[in-house]
Symmetry: C2
Subunit: 355 residues, 2 copies
């Protein structure tokens, strides 16, 4: 059965029937608008697009995967302001011949990731289009805390990260190399690519700890720290040793880390310059280097934040660098983030780290 | 210059530069999420899709028109809950060869309609796709009033409408008949089709007056009253005399009303069954009848609400019918709304009304 057979109202009813009970909103799916509780008196809100052929492919990602990823991308934006995600609005454009089972799998993925974040699907819209497109709006409550902007980092601050780095990029590299049935060691990387698991509660936690700036890592650690540096008018220096095996917690890049095995595997078995492009705007797999994946892979949706010096951070936050004065005449995005005091020049100089 | 030449960050900066100052939000465009004031402690939120080739065509609607329509569709959903629209999030998917001037015209239309509603563009996302698609999320504040649902109508209530009916459908019929350069009398109808002007403040007004149910008329008066009747478990009877020339205010369907002229014109000059399909899911122009347009045309986005009997309504609200007990065994959507006590059977029996 296709969504065209079911019709718009039938599709919405079928999706609604499989969503878990919605306890976060006053009015949920089915009226002109949803009504969410906003006990803080302010509401954080962010919209993200997820487009077939650009952000996912139906032949390599399941409907559940796409639902998880679509929800995660918007909910983590809300968490990156220091807010607790509460609700999700989902606009789904799809061809009429989309199987109903795919639409329901998508809804399950959205609901599953909402539940992980403590939020509910509260509304949406559907329409026909030539390919699948999702526009997902995440909403959240600040719980009395000031929103943590990109612009608040000051020289002397610590730079710290919560959540995995580079794993989704490694998973994409393995998939791109043709590893369609990943062995056990690679499964977590492929899963990270297909279903990111952002550390939502680390966002409000960072706000509570006095974070001065925060961002979710969607474009890559260096690119996203670049947004913080540019908005704050500072320079950020990342210490590569802090990203080395065994330093990132929990368990990321420990000596037996699958990221190192993945880099060895990809380099040994494929020509890294001749990868299949699985998506045309996802993180490019690029040359196989664990450090390159950690510095430039984005789709894990970890959180990066700056904190005043001396802040006692819980163990899931790993200090990876510090904030410095921007040099005279600076301001170019690309120069505002350094690695060990130098501009990052790609993986060439980092072979010691590539496994 | 195309949006591909400008790049995503360049496009966002160019759009941001032409948006008026945003006074409604705490954090606007440019961070991970926007932060809006929600002084009520609750937030109304609604998402709508607007898809090229389905809801608009770039050769018959200007970028400004599309922006106005996209904003109006979401903001009026918020108003239909009784909330005051405060913010808009805009996800824009577009081909790389879209002219930058078109994207900026779109942004002007969005900003213009937000200003009319008292809201601001507070955030969004952009991505490439093969055609233009907008997913727009409207947010609003209830100001201490209970949200007005579709499900609250009770037998004995009045049914009233604020805002124009049938004008967008008449405009579409004229455009479909090939009237590309409308004469002066037709200009308001064509404008209604291209740039709906919902009566946003009538939404909170109705809530303040004790409205028991409310909906925005996007699918047509009978279809949308059908949603209210189904959700409330009631029957709604519309009195056609209440929709006759001179009764609808302000000025809608007065004796010299352009709707009547439009029906005469379309019937005299074209074969009404051979219209050009300007959009494939917009209101079909259908046979040329002013009453049919009023009863089944949706894209004006007027508001329909039910009120307790005896409610003193301001002049822009026109009582058009009443709420009755649903008959035993009822519940079918199509039978829950009657016109003069009978199921609406199309424009055939209403020639006296067609001008």
């Amino acid at each position: 059965m296709t969504v065209a057979d079911l019709g718009e109202f039938g599709l919405i009813a079928a999706i609604q029937a499989l969503l878990p009970p919605d306890t976060s909103s006053v009015v949920g799916v089915g009226d002109d608008a949803a009504v969410l509780r906003a006990p803080d008196g302010r509401m954080a809100a962010s919209t993200d697009l997820l487009i077939e052929g650009r952000h996912f492919r139906r032949d390599t990602s399941s409907a559940l995967d796409v639902g998880v990823k679509a929800a995660a991308r918007s909910l983590v934006d809300v968490a990156a302001m220091g807010a607790v995600p509460t609700g999700l609005l989902v606009a789904l454009a799809a061809p009429g011949d989309l199987p109903v089972s795919w639409a329901l799998g998508l809804a399950r993925g959205l609901a599953q990731e909402c539940a992980r974040a403590g939020a509910s699907v509260v509304g949406g819209d559907t329409a026909r289009a030539s390919s699948v497109l999702l526009a997902v709006t995440g909403l959240g409550d600040l719980g009395g805390r000031a929103p943590v902007l990109r612009s608040g980092a000051v020289p002397g601050d610590l730079v710290a990260v919560a959540g995995p780095l580079g794993r989704a990029a490694a998973g994409l590299a393995l998939l791109s190399a043709g590893m369609t049935v990943p062995p056990a060691w690679a499964a977590p990387l492929v899963a990270a690519q297909r279903r990111p698991q952002p550390p939502y509660d680390a966002g409000p936690e960072a706000a509570g700890l006095g974070a001065t700036a925060m961002i979710d890592i969607s474009d890559g650690l260096l690119a996203d720290l670049g947004h913080v540096a540019a908005a704050s008018g500072v320079l950020i220096d990342v210490a590569s040793a802090r990203l080395s095996p065994g330093n990132l917690s929990p368990g990321n890049l420990s000596p037996g880390d699958p990221l190192l095995t993945a880099a060895r595997t990809v380099r040994a078995h494929i020509d890294p310059t001749a990868h299949r492009d699985l998506t045309d705007c996802g993180a490019s797999p690029g040359p196989a280097s664990a450090l390159a994946w950690v510095l430039t892979g984005g789709e894990d949706h970890a959180l990066a934040a700056t904190f005043p010096p001396g802040t006692a951070l819980p163990s899931r936050w790993t200090v990876i660098g510090d904030v410095r004065e921007a040099p005279e005449g600076a301001g170019v995005l690309g120069a505002a983030v350094l690695v060990d005091g130098q501009a990052w020049a790609g993986p060439a100089g980092w072979d010691h780290f590539s496994g």
